[in-house]
């Protein structure tokens, strides 16, 4: 089965509001990355975490390897935040590959 389960698959927010995206892992992961694919199709690195939390502007991410999840919080959403967000994680054992979630399509509305 899928090792990275990302939710929700789609999310709509009004400008100025916030929400959280979540990835659950079916196995222990050693690190997680979060990306945004913008309207031009480019993949932008948001965060890389081996543990704990990181914050950058209006974005904050957390990773708990033991509890097998990671979150991406967006606050004060802006129109330019719209895009598809992906999490990806590397397993602690077995395959070393980066395993991607299926993405969250975020739409920020005026």
């Amino acid at each position: 089965g899928d090792q990275v389960e990302q939710s929700p698959s789609a999310l709509s927010l009004h400008e100025g509001t916030g929400s959280a995206l979540r990835c659950n892992f079916t196995t222990t992961m050693r690190a997680v990355q979060w990306f945004r694919k913008n309207s031009r199709g480019s993949l932008i690195n948001l965060f890389y975490l081996a543990s704990g939390t990181k914050e950058n502007g209006r974005l904050k991410s957390a990773f708990d390897s033991k509890e097998r999840y990671s979150t991406l919080h967006i606050r004060d959403a802006q129109l330019e935040d719209s895009g598809t967000y992906f999490c990806a994680a590397g397993a602690s054992s077995g395959s070393w590959q980066l395993i991607f979630g299926s993405g969250t399509q975020l739409t920020v509305m005026p």
């Binding site: 480019s42 990806a88 590397g90 395959s95 395993i99």
Partner: protein, 114 residues
């Protein structure tokens, strides 16, 4: 800031056509990767390499070849393109192996096979 570039950014070819996608990284990274991304799916690994002359098979290698000519350059080859290979292709690099190290992605190449 890590730098990965891809060319072309857009490509249209016909079924049976021959396509080469190029990737260059100037990060002195050992590992380079080719992924494809389809609507509603995450990225899937096609091939990867840990150095010049090395090639490893990923999860979805069928119909693709790849070649790592130098530490900087990694090419993806579609020798008989099919419509099922219409996709968005990303190249990435990392200093170390797979999910243990941060991967840096190029801007993507959108390939359409008619």
């Amino acid at each position: 800031e890590a730098a990965v570039t891809q060319s072309p950014r857009n490509k249209v070819t016909v079924t049976g056509g021959n396509v080469t996608l190029s990737c260059r990284q100037t990060n002195s990274h050992n590992y380079m990767y080719w992924y494809r991304q389809d609507t509603g799916h995450g990225l899937r690994l096609i091939h990867y390499s840990y150095g010049a002359g090395n090639l490893q098979i990923g999860d979805v290698p069928d119909g693709y070849k790849a070649t790592r000519t130098t530490q900087e350059d990694f090419f993806l080859l579609l020798e008989l393109a099919s419509p099922s290979q219409t996709s968005l292709y990303f190249c990435a690099s990392s200093v170390g192996q797979g999910g243990s190290y941060e991967q840096y992605f190029g801007p993507g190449t959108r390939l359409t096979v008619l």
